[in-house]
């Protein structure tokens, strides 16, 4: 069947591009209403303790201040854990905003000041006085590493005999790596605008990666089943920060319910550091190999931080058991609880830091065994996911290595560190492998062709900049042979057909499959409709006998009649099909993953210790690429994230106060334009008939994975210095 014809695979401009470049795309805090109230959050100044008294008299005395909401006067909310457990909840007892007087972390919301204008609310918030009973706190992972516990979701079971094989291995590497807390920091801060409807229902604009996740959360927490609708047509970046409902959402709803008025709550940039983040990690790698560098033993132990109320787990060490061939593997993953908020999935959760450690250790092994780092990876190549004992449904990683290396010019690289320089610039080249899961989740979509022949397809997914609008439009247009202009894709509305959270690089795989199937179902309805007319040339034809192209349905056999879809629906009226697609059974027999090979050149100033990434090539195997332009942009963005992880990003905490010190965009360093060199993204050809009907694996995460290791390895190659603690700042190189 010709179901994946153009425009699938074409580098088309984003369908939402014109709205974004003209300022017409509207985000959660940009929907207004007459009389809209504004809420500003007051956050805890202590990391642990109890609120004794909240004195809001001065704030409430101001003309225009409508309400100071606290745990003492909030509307009723659920008290058990379950109603608060959203689709991305960690194990444990979720945070309940304004629930009681307990302070669980610094930055915790303790009050919401609601006023007629945002400026007034902000001023009034500064007048709220909170008295605390402070308790001793602990926020330093290093201080509690001995008090860690097993993660509730354990890593894959050990295989073989690690201890014996490691002891016997002629080449051994043993290293410890550290990665810091990082914050998502999407450019749009989290915000919720809640419209209080005449019937007491709520229409909510929220910054989220899952409108239905937020809808369910609000319904459960406030007992408002069937009375909540959540919208998020545009999301100003998220990278995981929108996977769970953040506290501004229930706070805005509390105020709206209490006042029976519409309320908006926007967080400040500083408050973007008062919820989830990428957790700090300590990781220990032990690699044992034969003299040729073939892995004999591998152990990867990680310690991650979590909160005292939830156990946040991510797949941090699993990658070490699946990326290379090794018979003796031992993986460990422990958590230590601190007086902090629960960590949260952040772009390539677990992999971004776990693969960093693995791929740095592999580079160290390459030097210990005197093997070229790329050659070392080829010698340890695996067609099987060793954790599962299953072959990969497709794995064109070899092509990534070959094409990436050629494009980068890896063959010219001398192995010895400090062998390249230009004046005082030490030049280094490093590489690493990247890997991410190729997931699929159940998803639904509806396709409706109206009497004018225009196709509207919808699903309650999100487009956080990933290009969902465009990719889904392409998939639908291809399935029905319509031009892009005749197709509209709608998302970000909890009333639309069910969609999973937009995350984990699974949207094309999950929602794309549903869109594809919905359009195929619509084909059948179009054929049925055409067969209704007497003496139809399509009588007796099955879907296999017709093709959909150029806006028409055409018989593939004589008399080759073509009938414009417009004419079919002109007679039948609008046609609609809705499907739910589950991950295919065939997936169970296979391992599914995306892979990449990343090559990085750095220049390190010998006297100043400054590091500049000067060139990056990332070769990716991700199955069928729906839109090479938007997918390429995802890869490049991931590489930029990897550069930030390697060189810039670190949320610093003052452990005496238990609070973040650099909670703003001047002191939390993100890569800027001047930090980013030319980045080349290559998609190698990869055919996969197992992952889903589209053969498409998703690209949101794979771009970042391995990049920080490639940078660190390049820094070693340039300087001869191993920095095992991110970010690699100049003080660590001097």
């Amino acid at each position: 069947m010709n179901t994946l014809a153009a425009p699938v695979g074409q580098p088309l401009a984003r369908v939402d591009g014109p709205l974004k470049v003209t300022g017409q795309a509207r985000y959660a805090a940009e929907f207004g209403a007459p009389g809209l109230l504004h809420g500003v959050v007051v956050c805890s100044r202590i990391a642990r303790g109890q609120v004794l008294r909240i004195d809001a008299r001065e704030a409430e005395a101001l003309d225009g201040v409508v309400l100071v909401l606290t745990h003492e006067n909030r509307p009723p909310v659920a008290s058990y854990d379950k109603p608060y457990q959203d689709d991305d909840a960690a194990d444990g007892s979720p945070f309940r905003p304004l629930f009681n007087d307990r302070v669980l972390y610094s930055g915790q919301p303790l009050a919401l000041v609601v006023a007629e204008t945002r400026e007034l609310a902000r001023h009034a918030a500064s007048l709220v006085r909170i008295e605390y009973r402070q308790e001793p706190h602990q926020t330093d992972l290093l201080a509690v590493r001995e008090q860690a516990h097993e993660a509730p979701e354990p890593p894959p079971a050990p295989r073989g005999d690690f201890a014996g094989a490691f002891a016997a291995a002629p080449v051994r590497v043993e290293c410890e790596y550290q990665t810091p807390v990082e914050h998502h920091n999407p450019m749009e801060t989290h915000a919720s605008t809640v419209f209080y409807q005449a019937d007491g229902g709520l229409l909510v604009h929220d910054k989220t990666q899952g409108v239905q996740n937020c809808q369910r959360y609000l319904e459960q927490v406030f007992g408002l089943q069937g009375r909540i609708r959540v919208l998020a047509p545009f999301v100003g970046g998220a990278f995981g920060s929108g996977l769970r409902p953040q506290y501004q959402l229930p706070l805005a709803v509390m105020a709206a319910l209490k006042l029976q008025r519409s309320v908006r709550v926007e967080l400040s940039r500083q408050q973007m550091f008062t919820f989830g983040y990428r957790p700090r990690s300590l990781q220990r790698l032990r690699l044992g190999a034969d003299r040729d560098g073939r892995l004999q033993a591998l152990a990867h132990q990680a310690l991650g931080q979590t909160s005292r109320f939830e156990d946040f787990t991510e797949h941090e060490v699993d990658w070490s058991g699946m990326l290379y061939a090794c018979d003796n593997v031992q993986l460990g993953y422990r958590l230590a609880a601190l007086d902090v908020y629960t960590p949260l999935d952040m772009r390539a959760p677990g992999a971004a830091i776990g693969v960093f450690a693995l791929e740095c250790a592999m580079d160290e092994l390459a030097y210990a065994a005197s093997v070229d780092p790329l050659e070392l990876r080829l010698r340890n190549y695996s067609e099987v996911n060793g954790n599962q004992g299953k072959r990969y449904s497709s794995k064109e990683l070899r092509a990534c290595y070959v094409q990436g290396a050629e494009r980068f010019g890896w063959a010219q690289r001398p192995q010895a560190p400090r062998s390249l320089r230009e004046g005082n610039q030490l030049i280094g080249m490093g590489m690493a492998t990247g890997v991410w899961e190729a997931l699929q989740m159940p998803a639904s979509a509806r396709a409706c062709i109206d009497a004018d022949g225009r196709l509207q397809v919808s699903s309650a997914t999100a487009d956080i900049g990933t290009g969902t609008y465009t990719a889904m439009t392409q998939i639908a247009a291809a399935a029905l042979g319509l031009p892009m202009e005749a197709v509209e894709f709608r998302l970000g509305d909890s009333n639309l057909p069910q969609a999973p959270l937009e995350g984990g690089s699974a949207t094309v795989s999950s929602v794309g499959s549903a869109v594809h199937q919905a359009c195929l179902a619509l084909r059948q309805k179009l054929l049925d409709a055409a067969q209704q007319s007497p003496a139809s040339p399509f009588t007796g034809a099955s879907l296999d006998d017709v093709a959909f192209a150029n806006g028409s349905m055409r018989l593939k056999r004589p008399p080759y009649t073509a009938l414009a879809l417009e004419r079919i629906v002109g007679v039948s009226g609008a046609l609609e099909a809705e499907v739910r697609v589950e991950p295919g059974e065939q997936r169970k027999n296979w391992a599914t993953a995306t892979h990449s090979a990343v090559f990085v050149e750095v220049r390190v100033d010998e006297e100043l210790g400054t590091v500049k990434v000067s060139r990056v090539v990332s070769a990716v195997a991700a199955g069928r690429v729906v839109n090479p332009q938007t997918a390429g942009n995802q890869i490049v963005g991931g590489v930029v994230w990897g550069i930030g992880q390697a060189l810039h990003e670190e949320t610093l905490i003052d452990h005496r106060l238990g609070r973040y010190m650099n909670h703003n965009l001047a002191e939390y360093h993100l890569p800027v334009q001047a930090d980013i060199p030319s980045i080349e993204a290559i998609f190698v050809e990869e055919h996969d008939s197992v992952v889903n009907a589209l053969g498409s694996k998703g690209v949101g995460e794979i771009g970042i994975v391995g990049v920080a290791a490639a940078v660190a390895n390049a820094v070693y190659h340039a300087t001869g210095k191993r920095v095992r603690e991110l970010p690699i700042t100049l003080d660590k190189l001097l």
């Binding site: 470049v21 795309a25 007629e116 749009e188 991931g638 890569p671 334009q673 001047a674």
Partner: protein
């Protein structure tokens, strides 16, 4: 609205005159209101974005008399008499501004939230006529953060549109 009801002892609202996106506007603003909040909250021009409110991200970049500024760092009253252009004022009757068109062509954004600021900043940069090499462009666009990391495409879009804009020599 309490916008017009300052607390006792607070200074009274001020009247200012702006040429906003080509239109003469007489406005009443509070002395503490930033240009950004005037645009977003009072005038409903939400194309100009708020990413930090501290002049650290560039999402709020607008053109004032052709110069790019962070509108969160300017009080509205400071711009009395100025010509202010926001992203909503760039496209003409004949379609997108060349910089906007280049951003679409080069896929110079993902989420779109930094985009209005990037575009205004790039138009301002064209007016400055200082950046000539790629590295100079990178340096002089470094006040506009893009968390999605679309920097290489942003650079490509600007390089593409610059010759056209410099040919025009206008200040948008």
């Amino acid at each position: 609205m309490s916008q017009n009801l300052p607390a006792a002892g607070a200074p009274a609202a001020c009247r200012i005159l702006l040429e906003l996106n080509g239109e003469r506007r007489e406005l009443e603003v509070q002395p503490w209101t930033t240009l950004l909040d005037l645009l977003r909250d009072q005038l409903g021009l939400s194309g100009t974005k708020k990413g930090c409110d501290h002049g650290q991200c560039g999402a709020c970049t607008v053109l004032v008399d052709g110069r790019r500024i962070n509108s969160c760092l300017s009080l509205a009253v400071m711009q009395d008499g100025a010509k202010v252009t926001t992203v909503e004022g760039l496209a003409g009757a004949d379609g997108l501004h060349p910089m906007q068109a280049a951003f679409v062509r080069h896929d110079a954004f993902q989420c779109g939230y930094c985009t209005p600021g990037q575009i205004c900043s790039a138009v301002g940069l064209a007016n400055e006529n200082r950046a000539h090499t790629r590295d100079e462009l990178r340096e002089q666009m470094s006040g506009n953060l893009c968390r999605c990391g679309a920097y290489p495409n942003i650079l490509a879009a600007i390089e593409d549109a610059l010759p056209t804009l410099r040919g025009q020599g206008g200040d948008a």
